[in-house]
Symmetry: C2
DNA sequence: ATTACCCTACCAACTGATAGGTAGGATAAA
DNA sequence: TTTATCCTACCTATCAGTTGGTAGGGTAAT
């Protein structure tokens, strides 16, 4: 445990950014949540941009690990695919939060370049995983499955955002169900 | 012409909010764009919350009028439906902006109640219009078409957000095309 | 004695908001 | 037709609070 505070900062920043975005992050509140002073954060992160990038990076790293574990546990790729929307549902369950990178995608113009890069990678990780699972589950050709992977990802992100705007998880569920009915997601 | 500045403020605030959100709005920059002083904005809007609500309200009013005109001009509801994604495309064309209410949906927790209300109405206006057109175009039952309307709206919002995160309008186009292929949107 | 970690005490810049005033046009009573 | 009164639309000056960030010092473990 080289640094407990660093991890605590990262965790608190993640939760805040899922509710208030990158612009909503501030050192004082963050420090208070962790139990240190604002200036002490600078010992772990040289600037807000660095913190933001670290948070976004950790976010896609965790996502990648989680999705990988899903595939390892289950032999059935179709089952994995059906479970995918559950990942985004969890954010809503956690106090009507949304995906960190969805929020930051909205804030894109105001993001420092290093943060932008990590946000982009989050999308890449998700699309790559979906595409891979899609190929395994439906035997589609790579190019086609990549297009479909992107469509699924975008649709789910939109569903999450719309559900947040109503603070209504049930709305998210019906949207996902509608995607299945329409044929965007496997039934 | 009771007040030209009021309209100018509304127009400038709309553009800014589409790029930086409600939190990104500030009186000084806004005033500078309009050509007046920050304090003078208070003559037209009692508070930032009032300004935000007025901007969001004007936004859905304009959208409602535009969509209504679409229906009036064309006799074919299916054609209207096919044109719908074009509305959201225009925001991206305009300097990689997104729908004001998508951004504000992300910021939902930090929004004053009056602003929240107008943001919700924007969704209602869009879903109601889509539902109506869907019924006319596909002869579906109201309940079913409402579910589908919501799905279409959410998917398009997601596509717009994803395209912004890459500053890539072509990505938006391929996503919409994928929705058609998948059967979410009419081909 | 060096490093990791955290502190107090600042700072300049910026935030929404208020107080109080000015210029000019409309209205209406004298 | 002058005078008094009010209104719209803006101004300057200032406020208290918050922001990201810095300087420099303390302390405990290695």
């Amino acid at each position: 445990m080289s640094s407990n505070s660093r991890e605590a900062i990262l965790a608190a920043a993640k939760l805040t950014a899922q509710t208030r975005g990158y612009g909503g992050l501030n050192f004082r509140d963050l420090a208070a949540e962790v139990g240190i002073k604002a200036a002490s954060i600078y010992h772990h992160f040289p600037s807000k941009a660095d913190l933001g990038a670290a948070v976004a990076r950790r976010y896609w790293e965790d996502t990648a690990a989680y999705l990988e574990a899903l595939l390892t546990e289950s032999a059935d790729p179709l089952l994995c695919l059906r479970q995918y929307p559950e990942t985004f549902r969890k954010a809503l369950e956690n106090n009507n939060r949304i995906c960190l990178c969805s929020f930051m995608a909205a804030e894109y113009d105001d993001l420092p370049e290093p943060v932008k890069k990590e946000v982009r990678t989050f999308t890449d990780v998700n699309v790559a995983w979906l595409s891979r699972v899609l190929i395994a589950a439906t035997a589609a050709i790579p190019e086609e499955s990549e297009r479909r992977a992107r469509a699924i990802f975008a649709a789910i992100v939109g569903a999450q955002l719309m559900a947040r705007g109503r603070a209504d998880i049930a709305l998210y569920d019906t949207l996902i169900e509608s995607y299945r009915v329409a044929g965007l997601l496997p039934a």
